[in-house]
């Protein structure tokens, strides 16, 4: 991991060098990210992809789907599938408690609910925080990670909602 870090920093330094823009450009806020935790790790989802955050309601299980799809829920008269991000990322599921939440994310017309351990915060993202996700980070879950955020309080993994939502379709063809 430490090696990765150095590489990351080097890459970032390079990126900054190559940007000929003024420093203020780098400081500009590009987006906001909703952060949440799964175990010790902090993840994030870009705000434009977030529809709403709800508690965990009654989930109707559906047969014939992989384990990580927990079923379907009713979100204001819309039927939305929910995915447990823990088991999706190969972690052990924990029972839902009052901090468990479902983040409804959307990409184009498709909505999916993601069950997370705890909602953290909404943080502004500046360009200097972003490190492109290198190919070899987190072998398994890598495809869902859009980029890394390096903040003073640690690294946050920002998820690629498009890939989460459309992964199924990609498998079909």
């Amino acid at each position: 991991m430490a090696m990765d870090f150095k590489e990351l920093l080097a890459k970032q330094a390079e990126m900054m060098k190559s940007t000929t823009e003024a420093k203020s450009e780098v400081e500009r806020e590009i987006t906001k990210v909703l952060t949440f935790s799964i175990g010790e790790q902090i993840y994030g989802i870009e705000i434009p992809n977030v529809v709403e955050i709800i508690g965990v309601p009654h989930i109707t299980t559906v047969p014939g789907v992989p384990d990580y799809i927990k079923g379907i829920i009713n979100v204001r008269s819309k039927v939305v599938p929910v995915v447990n991000i823990r088991s999706r990322f190969g972690k052990e599921e924990i029972p839902y408690n009052d901090r468990s939440s479902i983040i409804i994310v959307s990409s184009e017309d498709i909505q999916v609910g993601i069950i997370v351990d705890q909602i953290r915060d909404v943080i502004p993202v500046k360009e200097r925080h972003i490190a492109k996700s290198p190919d070899h980070i987190g072998v398994n879950n890598n495809k869902f990670i859009k980029y890394l955020l390096e903040m003073s309080d640690g690294i946050k993994l920002v998820l690629d909602v498009n890939k989460l939502v459309y992964e199924n379709e990609a498998v079909v063809d």
């Binding site: 109707t60 047969p63 789907v65 799809i69 379907i72 008269s77 079909v172």
Partner: protein, 688 residues
């Protein structure tokens, strides 16, 4: 180039809708007349009108290639119309016009679907149409010659006599496409007056004429019983800025003509015989509009965008859910509320009426997709050289619009299949088997208890079960020893994916995709398909589709923590049992004997892996369900109650998993906001 002129996008939809409708009408007339082998005057007029409208609106939208195409078609029918009695051999006309209408449809589809739409070059078919027109002209030489003589832009006939009026019309500055507006104005005027002449005379085909109109105005000479009425029309026409009556001194229009002629002459070069024939055409059109207006009167039909209906439909669904949320609210439990109950009943009545009305709006007759089959049979008949007649029954049967749209392809495939594989290759073969030389394909539809049954049958060779079985074996489709299959099961194998009996791929069917696609399409709309066949006597495909998809009467049953909806239509009865009624077979299977019939029992909690405390048959309830003449008993914890539910499909995200095969057709949101799964009886029974 942009797809359409800017500011016209909104009209494209209307154009597509209208033109498609007209083309279908055209096909219908052609098929009918071809069968009768004669053109009635009405038919010719109607075709002419269709061509004319299509031409006008295509020009309006700026689709020049389509406009030209329609123009040539119109030309041809103009000749036919002028000389109906002389036109005897018209079979080539049909082929040409069918070709034209196909190209038209393809082009319109392209306009509809392709963002980077490129107009197709129709010069080939246009040439053919021109040749066709020439041939017709050759047969009816005299009047055609007259027509072409008049086509010379010199204006010998400009002197119309004293009773005519000439008007010069100016359009608003910058209203664009003055020539087309002039053309539309002419069409309007034809209702009131007989148009004798107009300058420039090539407004519909020559965009350059717009400039002439801007400079000199649009000059119309007409003869009318009531001049005032005509002038009124001009005054009220859209974008007309001003007009002046250049009165009926014979020289005046002539002079005007001469003046304008120079301006018009240059761009007019490309415009052939058609406009010259305009005045004559106008007379006919006039006569026709008179007929029409007496019958037509006010329009009682409007066309509505389907998405608006879908929206309305969704809202009604929400209302029904909300209604049960209110009426069956748990907080009301145990209260004795007389007037509330009364009001609730009233509400229920009204919502179900609302639902029925919305449904009926969405119902369209099957005539549309059925009539299209005429075309397919006609085309294939020629290509395959088989003598086949298509019989259509019950075409007025109505089905939900969304279902009809999904039926076109399967029906087409089935009819093609009947033509290609079903019907014998030669009529000799038929006669040798004691059948009439002419084969019959029957397309029938009827209503039967909440379902529509559509059959596609032929009186051809029938399905050879042995061949089917052998093929299925070869393709590895058998799941049990081949001698255990019933005739019916074997025949239905042709609907399995990966099955196609015909080794030779033809133009029409047997592209390898085959019948399983038909089956998929029909299942998509909640229907089923089966096949019945007798070797040597013919094959019948039976399609059963629900009248409507969206709302069903269901019985809510509870299994552990979950609730399921079983469609009421599938439930035969529900009852309690005692353990001594249960029969256990050797493979852990459980059955129940009722009235001498043995039914297998399916435990829902086992099927769907649910936790429940009720595992003893005596504590729960049994539902006997039936579909496709097969029955099974479902074991559930308890019945909750009967309820109308709005069927919602599973989210797109889950579409890759075959939930339907698990025996579930969709889900619904219950009054308390929870989601229940709707049981798909057919698949559930099939699974067992």
């Amino acid at each position: 180039m942009a797809k359409v002129e800017s500011g016209m996008e909104a009209m494209v939809d209307v154009y597509i809708f209208e033109t498609t409708g007209l083309l279908e009408q055209l096909d219908e007339i052609l098929l009918r007349t071809e069968q009768a082998n004669e053109f009635k005057e009405d038919d010719i007029n109607e075709i002419f009108r269709i061509m004319h409208t299509v031409k006008g609106s295509s020009a309006m939208m700026g689709f020049e290639n389509l406009q030209q195409l329609a123009h040539k078609g119109e030309d041809m029918f103009f000749i036919i119309r002028e000389n109906p009695e002389k036109v005897k051999d018209i079979s080539f006309v049909y082929d040409l016009v069918f070709q034209m209408s196909d190209l038209f449809k393809a082009e319109i589809e392209a306009i509809q679907n392709d963002d980077d739409f490129e107009p197709t070059d129709f010069s080939e078919i246009i040439k053919k149409l021109e040749n066709g027109a020439a041939m017709l002209k050759g047969e009816v030489a005299a009047p055609a010659a007259a027509a072409s003589e008049a086509a010379v832009p010199a204006a010998p006939a400009k002197n119309w006599g004293d009773d005519c009026t000439t008007v010069r019309v100016f359009f608003e500055d910058g209203c664009k496409m003055e020539n087309l507006r002039a053309f539309l104005l002419l069409n309007k005027l034809r209702e009131e007056a007989q148009i004798l002449d107009f300058i420039p005379d090539d407004v519909e085909s020559n965009q350059e004429s717009a400039n002439v109109i801007i400079d000199n105005g649009f000059i119309i000479t007409f003869r009318a019983p009531d001049n005032k009425a005509v002038l009124q029309v001009i005054e009220e026409a859209i974008n007309v800025q001003s007009y002046e009556v250049i009165n009926n001194e014979p020289e005046a229009p002539a002079a005007q003509a001469a003046e304008t002629q120079q301006a018009a002459a240059a761009p007019a070069a490309g415009a052939p015989a058609a406009q010259a024939s305009k005045p004559a055409a106008a007379e006919k059109t006039e006569a026709k509009t008179e007929n029409k207006s007496s019958g037509g009167g006010k329009q009682s039909l409007i066309s509505v965008n389907l998405s608006k209906l879908d929206q309305l439909h969704d809202i009604v669904g929400e209302i029904i859910t909300t209604e049960s949320m209110v009426v069956a609210n748990p907080e009301l439990e145990g209260l004795h509320l007389e007037s509330f109950a009364k009001a609730a009943r009233e509400l229920r009545k009204l919502t179900s009426e609302l639902q029925d009305t919305v449904m009926s709006i969405r119902m369209v007759p099957l005539a549309g997709p059925f009539q299209k089959m005429n075309r397919i049979v006609r085309d294939m008949k020629v290509k395959l050289n088989k003598d086949v007649e298509l019989k259509i029954e019950g075409e007025s049967t109505e089905v939900d619009k969304s279902i009809v749209d999904n039926l076109n392809d399967p029906l087409m495939h089935l009819v093609r299949n009947c033509m290609d594989h079903g019907v014998e290759d030669t009529s000799e073969e038929r006669v040798a088997n004691g059948k009439p030389a002419k084969a019959t394909i029957t397309l029938a539809a009827m209503n039967a208890s909440g379902e529509v049954i559509i059959t596609v049958s032929d009186d051809g060779k029938g399905i050879d079960s042995r061949k089917v079985l052998a093929k299925a074996e070869k393709n590895g489709l058998l799941t049990k020893p081949s001698n255990e299959y019933t005739e019916r099961e074997i025949q239905n194998m042709i609907l399995l994916p990966g099955f196609s009996t015909n080794e030779v791929v033809t133009e029409y069917s047997g592209r390898g995709v085959g019948m399983d696609v038909v089956k998929k399409n029909i299942e998509k709309v909640g229907g089923t398909i089966s096949v019945e066949s007798k070797l040597g006597q013919g094959t019948t495909f039976v399609i059963k589709i629900p009248l409507t998809l969206a709302i069903i009467d269901g019985m809510e049953v509870k299994v552990g923590d979950a609730n399921f909806i079983v469609p009421i239509s599938a439930i035969k009865e529900s009852f309690m049992v005692t353990n001594d009624q249960i029969i256990h077979d050797t493979q852990q299977g459980e059955m129940i004997m009722m009235r001498g019939v043995c039914y297998p029992i399916l435990r829902l909690h086992d099927k769907f892996n649910l936790e429940t405390e009720i595992k003893n048959f005596e504590d729960g309830i049994i539902l006997l369900i039936e579909a496709d003449n097969r029955s099974v008993c479902l074991f559930a914890d308890e019945l909750v109650g009967e309820q109308q539910v709005v069927v919602k499909p599973f989210p797109v995200y889950l579409s890759q998993y075959d939930i339907k095969r698990e025996g579930l057709s969709g889900c619904t949101i219950m009054g308390d906001g929870r989601i229940s799964l709707i049981i798909e009886v057919n698949n559930l029974i099939g699974l067992h």
